[in-house]
Symmetry: C2
Subunit: 256 residues, 2 copies
């Protein structure tokens, strides 16, 4: 069966997350329903990142197998038609090798977290940012964040229900910068633990607010204890921006 | 009575426009209701720009009179509290002179129009952009737009129900540029006719799509005939970005 790779944007607000659940709408289900309406096939759509309820995607990647050959552009157009009115949009469809796996082959995932840091609540970006009224020191947050870059045991920053076998991960980048009224946190790694980015953001917020000293972040990491973590930031500020693949299957794609 | 100047952001989606209407929600009414809840006073809030249904604001300006003195920051905070859950947010409140008039003293209004120019529909910016699938030539749009800059009789680009006494206006800037997947049209003038910006955008879109030659825009302007106008662009891509004042009342504020 021919395999296709899809790049997706979605608004996480109405969904219980990426993953299909029995009783609540999910982005995966919206997509699988669109495939069913288009082809009559009950395809399984495998996503690269299992985003939580309320988390958005600008560049989620997924793969699926279909029984017939589709011209990728036509597949994208037809699925976008059948996705309506769900807030899920296919940005790109490509033919993929039979061995391509959206989740297991991913070599990098990039997330963006948006904090709106001003007194007035968001009118236009409601549900798209974490609104924090107290002025945050973005530079202090960035400095503290550097303790989290590299290969570490991230037990402190891992949700209790995380299913990963090991708490050891390598964070390639964790960058905090002020962009107008917003603070943006960019995180890149091959893979993340459950709630890892939101745990980072909630902890760094404590530094930005002056409640934690920058060194407290390194101490929290070293504690390897979930109770040493700051609060977990809410989901609506988080975006899965991009997933990269540079394994054997897709040697040409170092910067999609 | 002390007068206050407010700078506002709102999501135009749920509103019949800025202006209060008997039977439909408006941004003005949301604000006047919040003032009533806060102060018990039925204040009239006068806005600088009477945005249409579905049009958004990033920097609408309004003024109102209250019977007692308020510290402006406290007024902003209290009104933002009472505005919930309406998607209207007060970005700034200032004490204003008794002679300040948000609408009549404005010396410049700046609008932004966002076109999302890609095949895939917007998932996250639904209701925030005009989605156009056909690739548009932004440079041709910009060149054609320059015929509309300056002092002209804009009868062609004026809604039938426009109440302005004269169709003559001076457009200070009309700039079209590509910003990633979007095309942004920035329009600046002391004041605009009803539907003028959306009439500009709908007409320039015809040029960008190749259906009109750039010179057709100048010809449409010279026709001084509403029927010579291109289609009127939909409201959801339009934002009132800023209102400027540099009259006698506010000599210091040339670039707010």
């Amino acid at each position: 069966m021919p395999r296709y790779r899809l790049t997706l944007e979605y608004d996480g607000s109405p969904f219980s997350g990426w993953q299909r659940q029995a009783d609540r709408p999910s982005a995966q289900q919206a997509l699988e329903d669109a495939v069913l309406r288009l082809t009559g096939e009950a395809a399984h759509v495998q996503g690269a990142g299992r985003t939580d309820a309320g988390v958005h995607a600008l560049g989620q990647v997924a793969h699926l197998d279909l029984s017939r050959d589709w011209e990728p552009f036509r597949l994208m157009e037809a699925l976008n038609h059948h996705l309506r009115p769900a807030p899920v949009s296919i940005l790109r469809a490509e033919a993929a090798g039979a061995e391509f796996h959206a989740r297991f082959d991913a070599t990098e995932r990039e997330y963006l977290y948006r904090i709106l840091n001003r007194r007035a609540p968001p009118a236009l970006d409601r549900g798209r940012v974490w609104h924090l009224r107290q002025p945050l020191d973005a530079e202090a947050m960035h400095r503290a964040a550097q303790a989290l870059v590299g290969r570490h045991d991230f037990t402190t920053f891992r949700a209790a229900l995380c299913q990963a076998k090991s708490p050891v991960k390598t964070v390639d980048e964790l960058r905090v910068s002020r962009v107008g009224e917003e603070i943006h946190i960019v995180a890149r790694a091959r893979s993340f633990l459950h709630n890892q980015v939101r745990s980072f953001v909630g902890t760094l917020e404590r530094v930005g607010a002056g409640a934690w000293a920058p060194n407290d972040v390194a101490a929290a990491l070293e504690a390897r204890d979930r109770s040493a973590c700051g609060p977990v930031a809410p989901p609506q500020g988080l975006y899965l921006v991009a997933v990269k693949y540079d394994g054997v299957q897709r040697p040409s794609e170092h910067s999609p």
